[in-house]
Amino acid sequence: MHSEGHVPMVRPVTGDARERQISRAFVELADTLVDDYDMIDMLDRLVAHSVLLLGADAAAIMLVDADGELRTVAASSEDAELMELLQLQAGEGPCVECVRASAPVAVVDLSDTDRWPRFVAAVAARTEFRSVHALPLRLRGQAIGAMNLLHRAPGPLPENDLALGQALADVATIGILAERTVRRTEVVAEQLQTALNSRVIIEQAKGVIAQYGGLPMDQAFERLRGYSRRHNLRLADVARNVVNGRLNPRGVVTEAGARRR
């Protein structure tokens, strides 16, 4: 979604440093779940934390839409996104499988598997990723989507990391469903649709800000996010107003305090 330079992470962040990092992540995520929080903002942060904590090169969250298709709602980089798109187009792959089975799916070496031939061929041709872990976003025995963790190096994730990854995926589920109180199943479908539509609006708003301010897409996103935080507004609402022309992009582009993460 928003591209950011890849910082190669050394996989084992160990000991106290890692524990601090983990608790910081959960504290921050818990913070975002209070009151009138923004689902897309929360998912973007969650994806960023997953990359950091699990030593992944990219991560993404996909949701099942009302039409039964998988769609990306948050991704750590354009690379991951490309891959999700390939997967989506191929209509096959670990993520699809993970959602169907509502269980984790791991491909520890993409160059050494005979499953999903179209997907694997597309990944090999267009990306450098060599291993994929897909963790389900679980709700009452069903999967409403999946979190994808992508590594450039082949190999399985340690069990601890998998457990942590699943915990993060569960936080994502809670975040998606808690935006409004979910009492009935029908609301779930509506929430997913809202999340996916918000993504469309935010991408359009990024385009508006990028064009108006002569900024790269990732900075455009940072300006939008910075503006919504400073004004205590929801990112999706700011984006909607930018696209509809109800909010002058000048304010978002020029306002002091805009800076990169």
Binding site: M1, A66, L88, E190, Q193, T194, E203, Q204, K206, Q211
Partner: protein, 281 residues
């Protein structure tokens, strides 16, 4: 993965057909009546200008409900359009509904036999293209399965409408129009999402094989799945000072004129290799 509902399947299959807005609306409404246990349905589109246009209503009651709401400027449909979220009134007789829309509720009770009303916005991003309105002659809620299906119908119907409204040119078929005519922006669509490239599978936006499933996938890819397309829409709307729907229409017209895929045009815009100007019509 979630199974598609029966009505959503019916609507998704329409991508393979060459329909105009009214015919599309008629089929969507009919599918709702057949599959979703409602007694009538209507679709109105909401253009940028203040007037609305009812594309189709399955019967006199459905039409009367549309007229009432747009005349009074209140009611479920108006609220769905303004708020962008579905509005469900499973029992109009409840007093809370009367306080919500005092005039509308009284008028519906007096003039129509409808007892329950449901309105779903047909949206694409920040844009509400129109509203799908349903009514029942008795009070009652949708089952979870029906609701899932109904959301699918609204989503696919919105995509199909958007596709029709932004297609390069009219509903005329590719084979009937010489290439040159397309330059005025009145020619037919050609890329996969238009459903006109039937004899030219290689022209499909995403290289999908020329079958129903391929069209279907191409449609959602182009209009929902590709962030570059949405980003480019945002950039083009600033470049030309227009709305998102028109920006998408311009991009599609340019892709058609240049005989390129929409996603490639979008990437050129995002990479700033292509800037839209007024002259590019």
């Amino acid at each position: 993965m979630a199974e598609r509902g029966a009505a959503t399947k019916q609507i998704a299959a329409l991508i393979a057909e060459d329909l105009d807005e009214e015919a599309l609306a008629r089929k969507v409404c009919q599918a709702c009546v057949e599959e979703l246990d409602v007694d009538g349905a209507a679709i109105s589109v909401l253009p940028a200008n203040p007037s609305r246009r009812t594309l189709w209503a399955t019967d006199a009651t459905a039409l009367a409900l549309e007229d009432l709401q747009f005349t009074l400027n209140e009611g479920v449909c108006v609220e769905a359009a303004t708020s962008g979220v579905p509005v469900l009134v499973s029992d109009l007789a409840r007093t809370s509904e009367h306080s919500r829309w005092p005039v509308f509720a009284a008028e519906v009770a007096e003039r129509t036999p409808a007892k329950a009303l449901y309105a779903l916005p047909l949206h694409w991003g920040a844009l509400t293209i129109g509203v799908l309105d349903l009514y029942r002659l008795r009070a009652g809620e949708f089952t979870a399965v029906q609701w899932q299906d109904l959301l699918g119908v609204a989503e696919v119907a919105a995509l199909l409408l958007l596709q029709l409204r932004t297609r390069p040119g009219s509903a005329r078929r590719a084979t009937e129009v010489p290439d040159g005519e397309a330059r005025r922006g009145t020619g037919p669509g050609v890329a996969g999402v238009d459903g006109d490239g039937r004899g030219n599978p290689e022209l499909h936006d995403d290289g999908h094989p020329d079958d129903t499933e391929g069209r279907d996938a191409a449609l959602s890819d182009v209009l929902f799945g590709r962030p570059e397309i949405h980003q480019a829409v945002g950039m083009v709307l600033v470049q030309l000072g227009i709305g998102p729907e028109e920006a998408l229409a311009r991009m599609r017209a340019w892709a058609f004129f240049e005989q390129r895929m929409l996603i490639d045009v979008a990437r050129d815009v995002v990479e700033r290799r292509l800037v839209f100007t007024e002259e590019m019509r």
